[in-house]
Every structure is written in C-alpha cells, then in structure tokens.
C-alpha cells in the first residue's frame, strides 16, 4: 500500500459517497476509474478496499443496488438511498472540512491572511 493509499483509506467511504452524489449511479470499476481520472492517476482506489466499503454501505441502507444486463452479463450499479442522502451530505461536509483544516496546517499563511 502506497503512502497516498494510506491517506485515502480513512476517507474512502466519503469519497465514494461524493462520487455517487455527483454522478447518480455508478458501478465498482467505474468508481475506481473516476477517481484515477479526477486525480490524474495520483490516487488509486484498490479493489480490495472499494468493494468491502460498497457492500458495507449497502448493508447499512445508505446505498442501494440496481442490476442491469450489459453485453450479456450482469452489472451492479450503486446509488444513494433517500435515507443515505443525509448521511452522504454529512460525510462529504466532514471530508471537506478535514481537507480545509489540513490545508491550513500545510499552508499556515492561508489562515492568517
């Protein structure tokens, strides 16, 4: 596990919720690719970390699956449930606040300006 992956690990569920919040519904592979695309390959979500998070959020009724047949095989999309919407908003806000605070530590001048 790279240092970047270690940093991401604790925020993974919030990242997944943010992507689903913005894109409506996505499937597992699409999420990994979207993160790579948005961060220009700096952050990669490993499949071993992503799927347990997706399944846990599904079990907690924050995500709901939608299956569709694509090219003859089953594809499982995830989307946020009405109940999960409030949770997603909270976790995204927490992640944002965390990133802003981290930025203040890394760039103290920003805070004093």
């Amino acid at each position: 596990m790279t240092q970047m992956q270690k940093h991401v690990k604790g925020s993974l569920s919030a990242i997944v919720l943010k992507l689903l919040y913005d894109n409506g519904r996505m499937y597992g592979y699409e999420i990994t690719q979207k993160v790579k695309e948005l961060t220009k390959d700096d952050i990669t979500i490993t499949e071993g970390a992503l799927y347990p998070i997706l399944h846990k959020l599904e079990a907690e009724d924050i995500l709901t699956p939608e299956t569709e047949r694509v090219d003859g095989r089953i594809r499982k999309y995830y989307k946020i449930t009405p109940k999960g919407n409030a949770v997603a908003k909270d976790r995204i806000a927490e992640l944002k606040a965390f990133a802003e605070n981290l930025n203040l530590i890394l760039n103290p001048k920003l805070g004093s300006a």
Binding site: G28, Y29, E58, V70
Partner: protein
C-alpha cells in the same frame, strides 16, 4: 474491444478457481474483470494474455483473517467473505422487516389465529389432533417450500457429481450450477429448514408416545408456530421476488 466468449470463459474459470460460492459476488467481480481487461486492451494496447494477469494482481494483495481461530484468506476469497458478512447482515434486516410487515397484513392475522387454535387444541383438547395437524403443516411446509426444494435439487446435483464425476470433468455451466449459490436468504432458509425438520421429528416421535417432556414440546411448538413458519415464509417470499 469486446472480449471473445473463450476469453470470458478463461476469466470465469479463474474466478471459480478461488472457490467463490456467492453468485451475486461472482457476477459483480466478473463484470469488474471484463471491464478492466477490455479497457486495458484498448487504452494500453495490450493483448488479452498480458492484460488479464495484470488485472488479477490488483485483487491478490487483499488479506483477511475472519477470527483468531480461523485461517487467513487472501485475494478474491477474502473479498467474498467480507461481501457475505455484509450481505447476511442486510438479509437479516430485510427479512425481519418483511416478516413484521406480513404479520400486520391479512395473512399474518389468519396465521396467528390458526397457530393459536392449534396451540389451544394441543393443551386443552386433543394432543393427538394438534400434533397431527402440526405434523401435516410440517410436511406440507418442508415438501412444498421452494427453499427446501431448491436445497434438495442442489443436494442432488452435488451428490451426482460427487458420485459420478469430478469437478475437472464439468463444463463451465455445470460448474457454476454446482458452485454458485444464487440467493442471499438461503442461509436463513437452511437454518429454518433444519429447525423445522428437528421439530417435525419431535412431533412424530411424540405421536408414537415416546417419553419427551411436555415443556420441550410446548417450547418447540411455540417456536415453530409463532416464529419459524412466519419467518421462513417471508424468506421464501423474498426469494421468489428475487428470482
């Protein structure tokens, strides 16, 4: 670039080689593998023979140890175990919620009245009539419940393969039929099936006047009438809906 049926078959055999049993998990991972390999072949201009092993590596470093007394699992099997843990938790919640909903509707009321009538008959009128009625319900329930029929069919398929053929001689479709369990509720189905089976034996043993205390029978019948049948019935309804 779309994969050929032979290339997809290679991926399917690979996933099954990890002793994957859950059909939902299998389908999700299969889609992931195919999408990832197809994209690598297009974007990186790689051949299938190069792209496929590369994709297998991304799952390889996942490791879990479910409990201190259990062995360590890695790769796709480790992911499947985590999937099953979450899926069982979810299935249990859905099952209980639905069982409660059924109890509130007309079927639930009729069932409770019937259960109450049987219970009262057993303790205040004719023990034999009530036991025979319970036994009849058991047989009907165990024989005609699609959960148990599915279980029997699965058991038969396993037996046929164990006795007559080895896994290596099976076609991919046969291997999938034997290995993959398609439902999330069947684990509950199996447990309830077993409980129902034990209780039906207790019932019949008592019809023939063997020595079993009245308290044991009372607890058994109470659990069976008021808990096991409504919950199993709900599991069966959820299974049918899913199918």
């Amino acid at each position: 670039m779309k994969l050929t049926p032979e290339q997809i078959e290679t991926i399917e055999y690979y996933i099954l080689s990890w002793d994957i049993k859950n059909k939902d998990f299998y389908e999700e991972i299969l889609d992931h593998f195919i999408s990832a390999v197809e994209e690598r072949m297009v974007k990186e201009n790689e051949s299938f023979d190069y792209a496929f092993p590369e994709v297998t590596h991304v799952f390889a470093d996942h490791i879990i140890k479910p409990a201190w007394f259990l062995e360590t699992f890695s790769g796709l099997k480790a992911l499947e175990l985590e999937f099953q843990k979450a899926a069982h938790k979810m299935a249990f919640k859905v099952l209980m919620k639905d069982a409660l909903r059924h109890l509130k509707n007309g079927f639930g009321l009729i069932w409770l009245l019937l259960a109450l009538a049987l219970y009262v008959t057993f303790f205040f009128f004719s023990t034999y009539v009530a036991q025979a009625a319970c036994g009849l319900i058991n047989i009907v329930f165990l024989m005609f419940s699609p959960i148990s029929l599915k279980g029997l069919k699965r058991g038969y398929r396993h037996l046929r393969i164990k006795v007559f053929r080895t896994e290596a001689s099976l076609s991919l479709e046969e291997l999938k039929q034997v290995k993959l369990i398609p439902t999330k509720f069947n684990s509950f189905g199996h447990v309830l099936f077993l409980l129902g089976f034990v209780l039906s034996i207790v019932n019949f043993v008592n019809v023939f006047d063997f020595e079993i205390s009245k308290e044991t029978i009372q607890v058994g019948i109470l659990a069976y009438l008021f808990l096991i049948i409504p919950i199993s019935w709900t599991a069966y309804k959820l299974e049918s809906k899913k199918a």
